[in-house]
Symmetry: C2
Subunit: 464 residues, 2 copies
């Protein structure tokens, strides 16, 4: 059951999923990303943050307010949502150790925070991949992803209806929406990366900023001098954005315009309070390439850029790999935190082995749980279809749930206040054979219930 | 394609799955647990090790031979299978850091070794759970589990046909078979643990030993004085064997007869070269109970027992939890290795959170990969039905594959010689768009192929 906890002002209403239990077991409140109900995609969600944006007379980003010691309504909201003092939120934002992605033009989103002191977050990718997919279909995918706990959603749409699809997603999304603007820019030059330009990219960013995109991936750290470092790799450059920018740099014998124009880009981001997500264009695409000179050289540049963005009041996070064997995961986080001045880390997986296409939600949930335990703030999910095809509805669910498990396991390992209450409530219900309570508390009540119904009841223990 | 590599003598023929690749990519040989073909459950597998057992004139366990510096045919076999010098196998067995479970009465099994210097192994549990299941059904499950890579199988059958089912499993198993003899003993006293006795247990062990069971779980470390330590737990005693022995101790106000008679038990084990697996009767059944005084007190006793067993030439491994949050996993392995003189550790998962019934193959694959990286030698799988019901065929496959992934990820992290060749071969195939090679190299070619067929072809990268 959805309940709302009201904050210091009446218009701060923080949603939770409250699970009531049988007997005298106390109810438990869980973090809830599913958003308010809706009268359909055409209507969209209520613009709950409109008034808050209007209140910010001078404008400015959450980072700027935090540095000034001002707790915005968004900060009050996330403090309640995370169960931490608002001062922690302000401090972490001010230090650049956390971001609160909230474009002023996306008033429908419920504020959330990404940083190592907070609950580990999960991003799900969606996006129209065929010319025939409709805005309604993408909104359905969005709601499906947030129903299972996606904290942000990236719209990776391509195709003719890209603007329209993104508009529908934004107007119906209770979570921050991220994009990779180079994808749309590339559409405009018919997929020929050598025809990309700063002006074209800038205009694309502004178009998306006006619509309300909350964070954008920009591959500004991939420099001309890094490209030779990737030549001997087993898997080359697997990032689409990275390979496009590398192609542009090589064709023009010029430095990446996203790097040379980064200050200008930051001015745009600051105007809308868009969080910049510095893309990992040289992330390793195989175990053999993990933590190699190419990846680490780019990471150093991302650290420089993070500093530039922060000076411009732009909230910043850093993207990371990819494919990394377990013994090299901690080094990734440690270097990122050192070189990028503790900016939040946002990793794709990582996959801990390459041998299991069809099961990469599992190969990568292992890496995701570990990388989050070491300090990664947000995990980009991987679905079972990774490397094989476009995920369908069941794949999206499988990916989100595997990643919510990884994130929660990391929350427990980091000792996030309150994280263990969920485990304890479920284990107590299990010990006392309160089956309905177990199902209701499960991360996926439908599956737990149906597995139990179809099977012979379990003995108290399955093995010795 | 199955190929055999012949060892220093013509009757040592080690199976591998050879994957031939297109173009000039070299073929790759993978560890293969699927065993030889069979003319059906009634016929059974060829008793390949009969001659080897007969050669051991004086009798004695693999541990005894290793201590004498003698490389048995079984040791030669596993050295080839693991790609390590036979001296490593002899040394690790002699030091008690590895076990080679091979009952003299199970000549059908292909030798394998369990120890931290070797490939991480995976156990799958099967067993007739309903009175109507037939020996043929259990043999089908066994072959299914080993087809997907189970390195050992535990037969946890209960019911009227328990002896007959076990016989069918042993005669058809190319992998070592483990049991928990207390389960059968309990059947003989109609499920009333207070009626258990040493004599009954001993006779059950001998019956199973004669059939050829390769390793047996014995809950000999759960002592009367440990029981009060488990009283305040969230989940109590979740091990079935553990709870039975605790009930017996409390009812009789006597020390656990498996502890007091342990020397006698070791004499039986030595006679057949049965490996003892010291059960973790007080393993935590919830995150809240992890690494608690009850579990650790029992672990200390298991260390004592390991020493007793080793003196008697009995190969020994130590079972471990269970439910453990990520930050407490390493402590478990470190204490086990210290207290049990580096005897191989054999853990169930561990599950890293309690919140995901229906997905415990994933919650536990995370823990399994980590515990194996820290030094656990064998992982007992957990299926999606854990806590909910008896696993079906698809659950067995899902559990085995999740655990093979965890084991391989740990092999990579530990730098096992040759482990990365598999990842590199697959990633090279991926980079060169050799789709058929990718499918053939996949841990589950069927799933990889069908996911690719059903979906729109993937772009080179799924996210930025």
């Amino acid at each position: 059951m959805k309940v709302y906890v009201t904050g210091p002002r009446a218009d701060i209403r923080v949603p939770f999923r409250e699970v009531t239990l049988s007997g005298d077991a106390p109810a438990i409140r869980l973090y809830d990303t599913s958003g308010p109900g809706s009268d359909g995609p055409a209507v969209g969600l209520p613009p709950m943050r409109s008034a808050w944006a209007a209140e910010r007379v001078a404008g400015g980003t959450q980072l700027r307010f935090a540095r000034a010691g001002v707790a915005t309504p968004e900060m009050e909201f996330v403090a309640l949502r995370e169960g931490v003092p608002v001062s922690t939120v302000v401090d972490e934002l001010a230090a650049g150790r956390a971001v609160l992605p909230a474009n002023v033009n996306h008033p429908e989103s419920e504020p959330m925070i990404i940083g190592r002191r907070f609950l580990v977050k999960v991003n799900a990718n969606i996006g129209a991949a065929s010319p025939t997919s409709t805005p309604e279909e993408e909104v359905t995918k969005l709601r499906w992803a947030t129903r299972w706990g996606a904290d942000t959603v990236m719209d990776l749409s391509t195709g003719d209806r890209i603007h329209e699809v993104r508009e529908a997603i934004l107007r119906n999304s209770p979570v921050p929406i991220g994009t990779v603007p180079i994808y749309q820019a590339l559409e405009r030059v018919d997929g020929d990366p050598t025809r990309l330009s700063w002006e074209l990219f800038r205009d694309t960013v502004i178009e998306q900023a006006e619509q309300g995109v909350d964070y954008m991936t920009v591959h500004a750290g991939l420099l001309l001098r890094h490209i030779p470092l990737a030549v001997g790799r087993v898997a080359g450059i697997v990032s689409l954005g990275g390979s496009m920018m590398a192609a542009w740099c090589l064709a023009h014998h010029q430095e990446n315009f996203l790097y040379t124009r980064f200050e200008e880009l930051c001015k745009i981001f600051a105007r809308y309070d868009i969080t910049v997500s510095l893309g990992n264009g040289l992330r390793p695409g195989s175990i053999a390439d993990a933590n190699d000179p190419a990846q680490l050289a780019e990471l150093r540049t991302l650290g420089e850029l993070a500093w530039v963005a922060r000076r411009r009041d732009v909230q910043t996070m850093i993207e990371g790999p990819g494919h990394v064997p377990m013994h090299k995961i901690k080094e990734n986080v440690d270097l990122q935190q050192e070189w990028c001045r503790e900016a939040p880390f946002y990793t794709l997986g990582p996959l801990t082995t390459d041998i299991a296409p069809g099961y990469d939600h599992i190969t990568s949930a292992i890496g995701a749980a570990m990388v989050a335990m070491y300090g990664t703030a947000m995990l980009c999910y991987v679905t079972p279809k990774e490397h094989l095809g476009v995920p369908n509805r069941e794949d999206v669910k499988a990916g989100v749930i595997a990643y919510k498990i990884a994130a929660h396991a990391a929350d427990l390992a980091k000792g996030h206040p309150g994280a263990r209450a969920w485990d304890d409530a479920l284990s107590k219900a299990r010990f006392e054979f309160r089956w309905e309570d177990q199902f209701d508390l499960a991360i996926d009540p439908d599956t737990a219930r149906s597995f139990h119904d179809e099977a012979v009841p379990a003995a108290p223990a399955r093995i010795a």
